[in-house]
């Protein structure tokens, strides 16, 4: 930015030069009036947008987490259901476990006990279901290794070796849920993009409005021999700072609001899952610098466009 700025005439040590630079920056800022309302406008815009952005980010992260959970809970597990006459159940179960043990991609397999099975049925039949009186199929839970299992191959092997065993890889259940989570995540990311775009547009417009308001100041400065970079620096510095402060305030407010929200309950996980966890609390901290960068670029472009119209 200051590549073309004239260096002070005397040779100085680097420390002095930095001090001189700061003084020059302050001087450059002072030649532009503070302009009360438009300063607040920029601050408020940045704060409001950062606040909304924190929420959109939390939503995206929650959607992400949800998708991951479903991925983990459903995509990585499968069930083998063994329905056979009472006498053959034990035998076929043993065969199935053997087959699974030699199938690549299967991390572990485990027979679901009667208690667990009763728990699964509870919603529909109540806790006092007479398990003894029922001839339920045996269920084997298969936990897949990260790579996943070749379902088709496994299905064929099972059909050959244990005719009563049927593999259910939960595809039916998985697809709509994964799709739903992906769509929610997309929505959240789109809002972040929208918020970012609108923020950039608003900061640009606010900067251009400020520059238009200060057209006379710019003309006077050019007339007394100020360089473009000197004039631009004043505006750019001010708008970047304002956006940074506004965004920081908005992020802080947003994080406090998120933190104050009731903790997530598993009962309605999706709805109350909006919130940040662990390392995620650091993510919103990226918003103010990014916003400041956007403001810096926007103001610079706006400033040089306005300056080009002044001789």
């Amino acid at each position: 930015m200051s590549g073309a700025a004239p260096e002070p005439r005397e040779t100085q040590k680097t420390g002095d030069r930095r001090a001189a630079r700061t003084v020059r920056d302050r001087r450059a800022t002072q030649v532009v009036p503070g302009s009360g309302q438009s300063a607040w406008l920029t601050l408020l815009t940045a704060a409001a947008m950062a606040f909304l952005c924190v929420f959109a980010l939390a939503l995206a992260l929650a959607a992400d987490r949800l998708a991951d959970r479903w991925q983990a809970a459903l995509a990585q597990t499968a069930t083998v259901r063994i329905a056979a006459p009472a006498g053959q159940i034990e035998e076929q179960t043993a065969i199935v476990l053997e087959v699974l043990a030699t199938t690549p991609g299967v991390q572990s397999a485990r027979v679901i006990g009667e208690d667990e099975q009763a728990a699964l049925l509870e919603p529909w039949f109540g806790p006092d279901l007479p398990m003894d009186a029922l001839t339920l199929p045996r269920l084997v839970e298969v936990i897949e290794a990260p790579g996943g299992v070749d379902s088709m191959g496994l299905r064929l092997r099972l059909a050959a070796e244990a005719p009563g065993a049927i593999l259910d890889d939960h595809t039916r259940w998985r697809r709509p849920l994964i799709e739903g989570a992906a769509r929610l995540r997309l929505l959240a990311l789109a809002s972040i993009g929208l918020i970012g775009g609108v923020t950039a547009a608003m900061v640009t417009l606010a900067a251009m409005a400020a520059l238009a308001t200060n057209a006379r100041v710019i003309a006077v400065l050019r007339l007394v021999g100020a360089r473009d970079s000197f004039i631009a620096r004043a505006f750019v510095r001010r708008f970047t700072l304002r956006t940074l402060i506004g965004a920081a305030a908005g992020v802080a407010l947003g994080m406090v609001a998120l933190w104050a929200m009731p903790a997530a309950q598993d009962g309605a996980g999706l709805l109350t899952g909006i919130g940040l966890r662990g390392i995620e609390w650091l993510y919103p901290l990226a918003i103010p610098p990014v916003a400041a960068l956007v403001a810096w670029a926007a103001t610079r472009v706006a400033a040089f466009r306005v300056l080009r119209e002044v001789t």
Binding site: P6, P33, G34, L223, V224, G225
Partner: protein
């Protein structure tokens, strides 16, 4: 230092003037008169590079205006002092800083002592910390003149610098300009005040130029 060579200018429509030539060398002193709307301010704008001539050539310190970039122009302006007809200031800075603005804007050190002396000479010591909007019309013109001479420029262009001033103050400022001129500054003053021109001519040898009817001529004997 500033040379106009066969310059013509027009704002879109009819030509204001054509084939104007002028050479401001070191220590030269020019007056520029002519009826209202003749193009005096326009000529001054050509001299400090705010306008590009339609035809002909303007040279600032030997460099052609057409070949100058924006930063070259800024550098040339740091060597020229201008008193504009509508004295514009930064309304949020006190008079003191406005007068020192050419130095601040080009990041040169401000000699506070000289600044005080200058404010005293133009009679603005009491208004040094006032904001420009509270100044009277004459005080604005004096502040504008102070700002123009603050940098000890090589060329001074003044557009109607005494229009809102009483006679005594006008003469006082004129003597400041004559003083500067004697130290080598080239001075060009656009004015309607023929008394001022007469007074100046009694002290130094000044050339009087007159724009009227699209041409510029030397006016001397008729004053």
């Amino acid at each position: 230092m500033i040379e106009l060579d066969g310059v013509a200018h027009s704002y879109g429509g009819t030509e204001l003037f054509s084939d104007v030539s002028l050479s401001m060398g070191q220590g030269s002193f020019h007056f520029l008169t002519g009826p209202s709307g003749a193009g005096k301010t326009t000529l001054l704008k050509l001299c400090y590079g705010e306008l590009q001539p339609r035809s002909g050539d303007v040279r600032l310190f030997g460099e052609s205006r057409r070949k100058m970039g924006r930063n070259d122009l800024a550098r040339a302006r740091q060597r020229i002092g201008v008193v504009h007809q509508d004295c514009q200031f930064l309304d949020h800075l006190p008079v003191r800083e406005n007068v020192a603005l050419p130095l601040i804007a080009s990041q040169r050190p401000v000699p506070e002592g000289d600044l005080d002396d200058l404010l005293g000479w133009v009679g603005l010591s009491a208004q040094a910390d006032a904001l420009p909007p509270t100044l009277s019309g004459g005080e604005r013109q004096r502040a504008a003149l102070a700002r123009a001479v603050m940098t000890s420029p090589e060329v001074l262009l003044a557009d109607e610098p005494t229009g809102n001033l009483d006679w005594d103050m006008s003469v006082r400022l004129l003597s400041l300009l004559i003083e500067l001129n004697r130290m080598g500054t080239a001075v060009l003053i656009a004015t309607h005040d023929l008394n001022l021109i007469r007074t100046a001519k009694s002290q130094i040898s000044a050339r009087v130029l007159r724009i009227a009817g699209r041409r510029m001529q030397l006016a001397g004997a008729d004053l």
